[in-house]
């Protein structure tokens, strides 16, 4: 290792790591980038398009070049910035986008063909033949151009999320952020200080500034100590605030365990931080100056060179040159020289040197070219009319600083150009309550950052009614760095602007030539700023180059704006980490454990897991099982858990009036102890949902809904109660989960019911069809009994408190053995209701009317109800589509839901479409396939034959139009 003196690394300990299979040593406190540089590794990766050799360019999250595949196996993470990876014992990393090796990359040949890969080449090339794009061109381009690779294995790590609330969120832990946090926290306000680095201090860690004539680290240590001691302040290290969202909510990712070989618990946590106020103290990013071949390993940002020397005690080369259009470059030269690095020269385009030092200075000069295939060896300098080569292993480039205004743009706030700063500063229209401070607001000196941070906190606290007062801040450097605008060095060779996406000044010129001058077009034509770094080191420079080309000032050329995330966020942490069966919540019915024990096959119905069918030994196909369940129900008695249907308790003096307005059919005459089928319409007159409504008492109803619409109907009813008719005395509450509701259906249903019910007359006379009553079962358990039928058979629904649902089901099966009691699932339930012609979710799809359902006359004209008037619209009334039954002419031919209906001799086109099949099944009762569907002129087509076409499967089935009531059309069975 080659180390300089000083630094903030722990030299007493070493850390072993591997890069491209080779073993290296570093120290705690290193990043992968600093450790590689300390091991004289300058070549780290290959560029996106041209496979140009690339090295470390920056010292922070703005890094465009040093992207690696971190870790191995399932934990392999592509496109990870070496500059932000905290070194840990056993770290392994690989370079990416190269083959077979980093030093010799076959696809480096792309560089020779660069004239063909100019801006917009995707749009101009590969146009013919069209069919080649998907199979040949795109895969080939994706293979040749790109970044890292995925392991294709499931992510083994756990991810977490959380919610934090505070008075003030301070984003950034540099000089401004620390001053802000200190100022606010001393008032007792609840403060969160978040910083993406693993160590607080920001640029103070990278500089040799003194505060009160002492090293900055002493002040940092004191402040950190105080902040740590304050119970009202929380420090989130390794945490990137990546986005500002609505209502003062900020998204942040805490990298809990990315600095460890393997997570103890979670790898990362996604925090949603709700802050009354926030301070943007995110500092600034240095910009480079494009010149010919400015992308070689060893060419870096000047501030990064300084950071590596001061914080990590490392220099990428023993002999270093500086190319700077600001005074900042001289600071770099001085700091490096003080550490023993040989300064080959400071190249300054300004005519007069801005500083002196024990190193050569080339005023009025620019860098015009470089050489060094895998690492910088020489730079070419043009000074006046003279050019000469200067030997150096690294070049620091300083073209000024761009404030990190990103989060201020997240609500479409446009940054404002400042001629004084030669940079965009935060403008108006940013997120409410977000106050910029420090270098992010153009206050780039240490003194300016400290003062503006404290002032921003004072303002934030004043907004919240707290009197902060400025703290005593240390004396610090306040000398501004003067600069001149040098956006690029003109030349004929390629000069890179966006390193990560390989966009050059030439590309921008070509975009201008092709009239892609608006920033948005420039971006998409060249892909500038569209890489994982979002063009942090490129956007403003590109804008300036375009400004030069158009002859318009920068503000008129356009502004650059940013969207979340500030830096890449893994999908795993956004997703929250739940996978497999826990991916989303599951709702289980009260009889789930019982059904599971009986070997039921389950099906997802929304969030519910419902028993689909109950296979018996010897049954080899689900149809066999379902047919058995259906036939057993029609012959004896079937049992089904129907708890999932929504249940809403409606009470109040005006409950009857409310029900009457909600349903389109009349309810005022419904007597206590009786149930009525009800149809709800939407405001637009279309059918919304159906179900039954039981009047349990004069002022109490139980409304049932379909499973799918349970939540929507409850919301609809609450809206009507609270907003449409607040004058009505009505109270609503869902009881869906409270009661286990079991259907007992079949000719022997009453016999079975009588075996569990306590002293209640269930005779047809005492408890006729559509009755309801509170009862007790199995020795006094409170229950509710409804005589309603979905199957067309004599049927009851019996509700008990949910905790007894499984036991009641088991009891019914046990007591009904001699009656052939058979549990059935949703498949049989569907067959039974299709045979009976009952509409369900498939028929109530939001596009159907009461008239189409054959219930047009149910919409009462004697009263007003939601949707009633709109249901009488001419367009709806004129619709002749109506629900019909469809029976396969050939019993062996399937009928498929979704098939469209046509005349037998008509062309099967949209124009000749007569309707569609909503539900279909095999009817064991009829021994053939049947379906329900909406058919134009259906009422007049009874008995005719039509075609059900399923073009997806190439099926064309002849079906007969029949009544939708395939069984017992008179309804005698359910009334007996």
């Amino acid at each position: 290792m080659t180390r300089l003196p000083g630094g903030l690394i722990d030299r007493d300990r070493t850390v072993t790591f591997r890069f491209d299979g080779r073993r290296y040593l570093g120290h705690p406190g290193d990043t992968l980038a600093s450790a590689l540089l300390a091991n004289n590794v300058r070549l780290v990766g290959r560029s996106f398009k041209y496979h140009r050799p690339r090295g470390v360019f920056s010292a922070g999250s703005e890094e465009p070049n040093a992207m690696v595949e971190l870790r191995s196996g399932a934990r392999q993470e592509p496109n990870t910035r070496a500059t932000t990876i905290e070194l840990f014992e056993g770290l392994t990393a690989k370079s990416q986008n190269r083959w077979p090796a980093l030093g010799f990359d076959v696809l480096g040949v792309n560089d020779l063909f660069s004239p063909f890969f100019a801006a917009g080449f995707y749009y101009k090339t590969f146009m013919w033949p069209k069919a080649f794009w998907e199979k040949l061109y795109e895969p080939a381009i994706r293979k040749a151009a790109g970044l890292g690779s995925l392991s294709m294995e499931p992510d083994p790590d756990a991810y977490d999320k959380g919610f934090l609330h505070c008075d003030l969120l301070v984003i950034g832990g540099g000089a401004a952020g620390l001053a802000a946090a200190l100022t606010a926290a001393r008032t007792g306000a609840r403060v969160i200080l978040a910083d993406e680095d693993f160590r607080l201090g920001g640029r103070l860690l990278a500089e040799t500034h003194t505060l009160d004539d002492a090293p900055a680290t002493r002040w940092l240590s004191e402040v950190e100590g105080e902040l740590e001691s304050l119970p009202n302040l929380r420090i989130l290290r390794r945490t990137t605030v990546f986005g500002a969202f609505d209502h003062g909510i900020y998204g942040a990712v805490e990298r809990v365990a990315d600095h460890l070989p393997q997570p103890d618990t979670v790898r990362q946590t996604l925090w949603r931080i709700t802050a009354k106020r926030a301070i943007l103290a995110t500092g600034a990013t240095e910009r480079h100056i494009p010149f010919a071949n400015n992308d070689r390993p060893g060419i870096m940002l000047g501030g990064a060179l300084r950071a590596y020397a001061n914080r990590w005690a490392v220099s990428p080369a023993h002999r270093v040159a500086i190319f700077t259009s600001t005074d900042d470059g001289y600071r770099t030269a001085r700091d490096l020289a003080a550490k023993g690095v040989q300064i080959a020269g400071v190249i300054d385009p300004r005519p007069e040197p801005r500083s002196t030092g024990d190193f050569p200075i080339f005023p009025g000069a620019v860098v015009t070219n470089t050489i060094g295939r895998l690492g910088l060896r020489h730079v070419e300098i043009r000074q006046g009319d003279q050019t000469h080569w200067l030997e150096c292993g690294a070049l620091g480039v300083s073209g000024g600083w761009n404030p990190n205004v990103h989060l201020m743009s997240h609500h479409r706030g446009r940054p404002v150009w400042s001629d004084a700063h030669l940079a965009f500063l935060p403008g108006a229209g940013g997120p409410a309550g977000l106050i910029p401070a420090g270098a992010a607001n153009g206050k780039g000196t240490v003194h300016g950052a400290l003062q503006s941070g404290a002032a921003a906190a004072e303002q934030a606290m004043a907004d919240l009614g707290r009197d902060a007062g400025l703290p005593d801040l240390p004396q610090a450097d306040d000398s501004p760095a003067t600069q001149t605008a040098l956006w690029h060095v003109p030349g004929t060779a390629r000069a890179w602007v966006d390193f990560q996406n390989d966009v050059t000044v030439k590309d921008i010129k070509l975009a201008h030539q092709e009239n892609m001058t608006p920033v948005e077009h420039l971006k998409r034509w060249t892909t500038l700023g569209m890489a994982t770094d979002q063009g942090k080191t490129a956007n403003v420079t590109a804008l300036a180059v375009m400004s030069e080309l158009t002859g318009k000032p920068i503000p008129e050329t356009g502004t650059t704006i940013f969207r979340p995330p500030y830096t890449p966020v893994s999908l795993s942490v956004l997703g929250g980490g739940n996978t497999g069966p826990e991916f989303r919540p599951r709702r289980l019915t009260p009889t789930h454990t019982w059904a599971e024990a009986r070997g039921a096959v389950f099906v997802e119905v929304g969030q519910w897991m419902r028993a689909q069918y109950f296979p018996q030994p010897g049954e080899t196909h689900w149809r066999e099982t379902v047919d058995r369940e259906v036939l057993a129900t029609r012959a004896g008695v079937g049992l089904c858990d129907v708890t999932t249907l929504g249940k809403i308790d409606v009470q109040g003096a005006d409950a009857a009036e409310f029900i009457n307005r909600i349903y389109c059919n009349g309810f005022k005459t419904l007597k206590t102890g009786m149930v009525r089928y009800g149809l709800m319409l939407r405001e637009d007159g279309m059918a919304f949902d159906d179900g039954t409504c039981a009047r349990m008492a004069d002022d109490q109803f139980v409304v049932t809904t379909t499973t799918a619409q349970a939540g929507a109907v409850y919301r609809h009813m609450e809206f009507a109660r609270q907003c449409l008719w607040p004058e009505l005395d009505v109270q609503l509450i869902s009881t869906t989960d409270a009661w286990a509701q079991l259907s007992i259906a079949g000719p022997k249903a009453r016999m079975l019911l009588e075996r569990v019910i306590d002293a209640h007359d269930t005779s047809n006379e005492a408890f006729p069809f559509m009755s309801c009553a509170p009862v007790t079962v199995c020795g006094g358990l409170r229950a509710r009994l409804f005589r309603i039928s979905f199957s067309g058979e004599l049927a009851y629904e019996l509700a008990v408190p949910a905790r007894y649902g499984a036991a009641l089901m088991a009891r019914l099966v046990d007591l009904g053995k001699d009656l052939g009691a058979t549990p059935y699932g949703t498949e049989a339930l569907g067959v039974l209701r299709i045979e009976k012609g009952h509409a369900a979710g498939n028929e109530l799809n939001g596009q159907t009317t009461a008239q189409m359902l054959g219930m047009g006359r149910m919409v009462s004209a004697k009263k007003d109800s939601i949707g009633a008037v709109m249901s009488r619209r001419a367009g709806l009334v004129a619709d002749t589509r109506v629900l019909v039954g469809l029976q396969a002419v050939d019993p062996e031919t399937p009928v498929v839901a979704g098939a469209h209906l046509f005349e037998t001799d008509a062309a099967q086109t949209t124009q000749s479409d007569l309707g569609w099949i909503t539900s279909a099944c095999h009817s064991p009762h009829l021994g053939c396939a049947i379906g329900l569907g909406y058919l134009t002129g259906g009422a007049d087509r009874m008995g005719t034959e039509i075609i059900a076409a399923n073009p997806l499967e190439g099926q064309s089935t002849r079906v007969r139009v029949v009544s939708p009531h395939f069984i017992d059309p008179e309804g005698g069975r359910l009334r007996d």
Binding site: R587, Q607, Q731, A738, A806
Partner: protein
């Protein structure tokens, strides 16, 4: 007395309990619940001697508790009363009000800690300002896409009410967070 054997919301004969470091999660199938809603012009009752709380409020008195759930609406709870017809009992205590049985509409899970507060756990679970979760606070919020009530009895004891049918998913969410919090205690 019925001879049917009940099961808990988590599908077992007895309540589930998990101890994770200083944290304990306990399913509470014994808690009876009923909703109480004021009818028009009805006087606010004091069922079981409880003074019904305002928005966000929770009151506890002996074996009974009540929390505000909506304007003019509360959930009333009673320990060791799930086997009784608690709604009927409450109706007698609140004449003229709408009362609806809710006992088996919910899974009730107590979370407690013997060390410090539950704030570190809660901030991983619910989007509420945990600084306000000290005592007698009731929050209607969400955990892992599930609507829940979070009752802060004190900083170290919280009760979560979630819909019974999703008890397994809710328990998984709570247990996962608690396990991670417990692992954090040991670091």
């Amino acid at each position: 007395m019925t001879d049917l054997t009940p099961i808990t919301a988590l599908g077992a004969a007895g309540p589930r309990i998990a101890r994770l470091g200083a944290l304990t999660l306990s399913e509470r199938p014994d808690v009876a619940l009923a909703s109480l809603a004021l009818r028009r012009d009805a006087a606010e009752p004091s069922p079981m001697g409880l003074t019904l709380p305002g928005p966000g409020g929770l009151v506890q008195e002996g074996d009974y508790f009540a929390f505000w759930s909506a304007p003019g609406q509360w959930m009333i709870g009673a320990k060791d009363a799930a086997q009784t017809d608690f709604a009927a009992t409450l109706s007698q205590e609140a004449p003229g009000c709408s009362v609806t049985e809710q006992t088996d509409g919910w899974v009730v899970i107590d979370i407690s800690t013997t060390k410090g507060t539950l704030h570190p756990l809660l901030e991983k679970l619910v989007n509420i300002d945990v600084a306000h979760c000290h005592s007698n606070g009731a929050f209607r919020t969400g955990i892992e896409h599930l609507g829940v009530f979070v009752l802060c009895r004190n900083a170290a004891d919280v009760t979560v009410l979630g819909m019974r049918s999703a008890a397994g998913s809710l328990w998984h969410a709570l247990e996962t967070a608690a396990a991670r919090a417990a692992a954090g205690e040991n670091r």
